[in-house]
Symmetry: C2
Subunit: 154 residues, 2 copies
Amino acid sequence: MSDRRGPEDAWSEFVLAVFDVNGLITQAGERISRPLGQSSARWHVLGRAFQPQTVAQMAAEMGHARQSVQRVADVLEREGLIAYRPLPTDRRTKLVELTPRGHEVLGEIYQRQVAWFAEIASRLSEATLRELTTSLNEVSQALASSMSNEEQAS
Amino acid sequence: MSDRRGPEDAWSEFVLAVFDVNGLITQAGERISRPLGQSSARWHVLGRAFQPQTVAQMAAEMGHARQSVQRVADVLEREGLIAYRPLPTDRRTKLVELTPRGHEVLGEIYQRQVAWFAEIASRLSEATLRELTTSLNEVSQALASSMSNEEQAS
DNA sequence: ACACGATCGACAGCATGCTGTCAATCGTGG
DNA sequence: CCACGATTGACAGCATGCTGTCGATCGTGT
């Protein structure tokens, strides 16, 4: 309590560890997609477009705001990696789908991602990874439920 | 391979879990500091200023760019939560230190943070948390070393 | 004493994420 | 069949993080 910068408690250390891993993964994502003229965000949208869907659907799945996805998608469309196809059933929205160029780029990124993971896999056992994932999901649930509690209080 | 959106492998699931937890923690950070008119980023800088140091030092510790911290610090200074004190030994830089107002606000945020953690602690065992932290740090190391490998290739 | 590389703050510009608002459209309930 | 709430994309504006460049200053090595 005398020094809140010193993360002496288990929770603070955990938070810092999560920030660390998150930062490194994000950084690796940039590194993987940069040579293809892309970025992590572009890649995520591109990946989603593998199975054609609307921007709103993507945003929901990713847990991001609609507009964040929309802006990225608009750029990808201008670059010719995705195309908007009007939906006959709904005049408001359009399907996002990969163009041939988009397929190419996504494929190359995918190969780089696989190579990267192979590198990682040699240093981490899959069992450890699975345990970690399970535990992290428990933490997520604890966090989510504590957040929804507070929501009621508002 | 036929569908890279389906995270069927352990690594993808892990990455998604990390994104999830990171997002929830960040969100909780905003929630904690918003009622005090602050944000997660402000809070981090404010917390660092508890022990007076320069912007550059803070940035290094946080693993952020100097300018990101600088901009936030400038805002905090305009709000009167921190103050710049010229260093006699180095005319380029100044010490960032908390003003009385800054101390107050940081104290209030700290209390809220403690309350929040108490909420979480009731759902997670400290032992689990420590194990998780240890494993995450291993992953960080694996990531970091794989990244520095690639650096050599450039 | 001085020259050169490192460090620092200032300034500028970009990417990504968020929120709020609006009009068009959809779909449902009356 | 129509009115109203929900959804969607467009537009605008903000916060946070990054990078690159510049001039001032520091410190080291000669």
